[in-house]
Amino acid sequence: MPRVHLMALLLTLLLVGCDRQSAVWHGHDLTGVMPDLAFSLVDDNGHAVTASDYAGKTVLLYFGFTHCEDVCPTTLATLSRAVNALGADSRRVRILFVSVDPHRDTPAILQRYAEHFSPQVVALTGTRSQLDHLTRRYRVAYSYGNADARGDYEVYHSSAIFVFDARGKVRLLLQEQLGAAAITEDLQRLLSDSERSYHHATK
């Protein structure tokens, strides 16, 4: 049946087209894949914040908790190095570290924690419903392990780093394993892109 052959051919072409990785970025290109940056949370001074407080900044959004022994500090250290390497441009970037463990991570603890890393790191948290809203929006999961004798428990969370441009549009998904140098390169490209579109808009 020639019709079936044609269908098979078209399907194959479609599949090949979809499976190609973006060659330009080190991370995954997420342009248009997820909704714009939006949240309402509490910052490390205990003040309510929303995405509009970071308008005009390139935002790196990452979920974790301060009692995290390994993954979170490593990721934040890598991101800090990547952002610091931008030099003066680092001021145009914010690393939003959202703690999904509001029970233990009070604003005071969050502030002390964020100080260990780059000045661009802002630690946020929120009520469970605020956190659920945000994690559902970006399709990530978090959950808690059982408490041990001292009341300590593990928190399981995503390892995704979502990058939003200065207009709050989702652009990239990064992973710590990419390394600081690759992340810096992606951020440089993103910053020069948004600079160009900014000049274009003001002309």
Partner: protein, 283 residues
């Protein structure tokens, strides 16, 4: 949390979709309205229909969807139910007459009757219900959404995710409808039942191939679950092995179940039909 709050929490949709609510609500309403004299066969068919509908709704609009988004093997189970099990039950229950009877007369005359006169609609449906086309679509969709690059984006993008799940449910209905309800006029029993049984048998192999490929792969093929976080800590490898086995074994078993139903219908057709039974025969 109290047990009641827990139960409500589980039954509430993770991501509310008015479409799912309206479609399943309408189907349920029509089915209730279309109820006729309650003979034994109708009751048994009604159980199949309600079970199929409830399963579909549960897969799409309860807390289960959260787990399906964040655990590969639960996602595979979701598709097994949406594509293989629930539509199998609904098609087996042959609800078309009851659903039609449930429509208000106005709708039947003003909407359904003109629609059924549109030639194009009829020929598209006829084309989709050709065994080879329906079979190719059935397996093609499984393969398509399991291409790692496609799967990655589908799990991150809500409209695409909904398209994937709706597509599986609709295609499941189309496929099992073809298997259990579509009989071209003038075709012999051997051609009708034999052809469908052969098709179900052949469709097992591509499903076994992709299921085994996933279950036996040493690579993490679907890293989106690691990136976005699993619903609970389970190693990526174990998750993928179970997911592959679900794609492989129960999916292929549904072909056997469908074949047995067809075989039973075929045998019944060959037996001389007594007068009392004759009016109950639908196929």
């Amino acid at each position: 949390m109290t047990p009641l709050a827990n139960i409500i929490g589980v039954l509430m949709p993770y991501e509310f979709s008015p479409t799912v609510l309206v479609v399943s609500g309408t189907a349920a309403w029509l089915y209730v309205r279309g109820r006729s004299t309650d003979d034994g066969q109708e009751r048994y068919r009604a159980v199949l229909f309600w079970l199929g509908l409830a399963l579909m709704y549960a897969m799409l609009q309860t807390r289960y969807d959260f787990y399906a988004q964040h655990m590969f093997f639960l996602h595979r189970l979701q598709h097994l139910i949406l594509h293989h099990l629930a539509p199998f039950l609904i098609a087996l229950s042959m609800p078309q007459e009851r659903l039609l009877a449930g429509l208000p007369a106005q709708v039947r005359h003003r909407v359904i009757a003109p629609l059924s006169r549109i030639r194009l609609l009829g020929s598209v449906m006829h084309w989709l219900q050709q065994p080879l086309i329906a079979g190719a679509l059935f397996v093609g969709l499984i393969y398509f959404w399991l291409i790692p690059g496609v799967h990655f984006i589908a799990m991150l993008n809500l409209p695409l995710y909904d398209t994937m799940n709706w597509g599986m449910a609709l295609d499941g209905l189309l496929f099992w409808w073809m298997v259990f309800n579509m009989r071209s006029p003038g075709i012999s029993d051997a051609h009708h039942f034999g052809g469908r049984i052969l098709l179900l048998f052949l469709l097992m192999f591509p499903q076994i191939v992709i299921g085994a490929h996933i279950a036996l792969s040493q690579q993490d093929l679907f890293d989106v679950y690691a990136v976005c976080g699993r619903a609970w800590p389970l190693s990526a490898h174990v998750d993928q092995v179970i997911g592959g086995l679900i794609t492989w074994i129960p999916a292929a078993m549904m072909s056997i179940a469908g074949g047995l139903v067809l075989l039973q219908r075929w045998i019944r057709q060959r037996e001389p039909i007594t007068e009392g039974e004759a009016c109950r025969e639908f196929t």
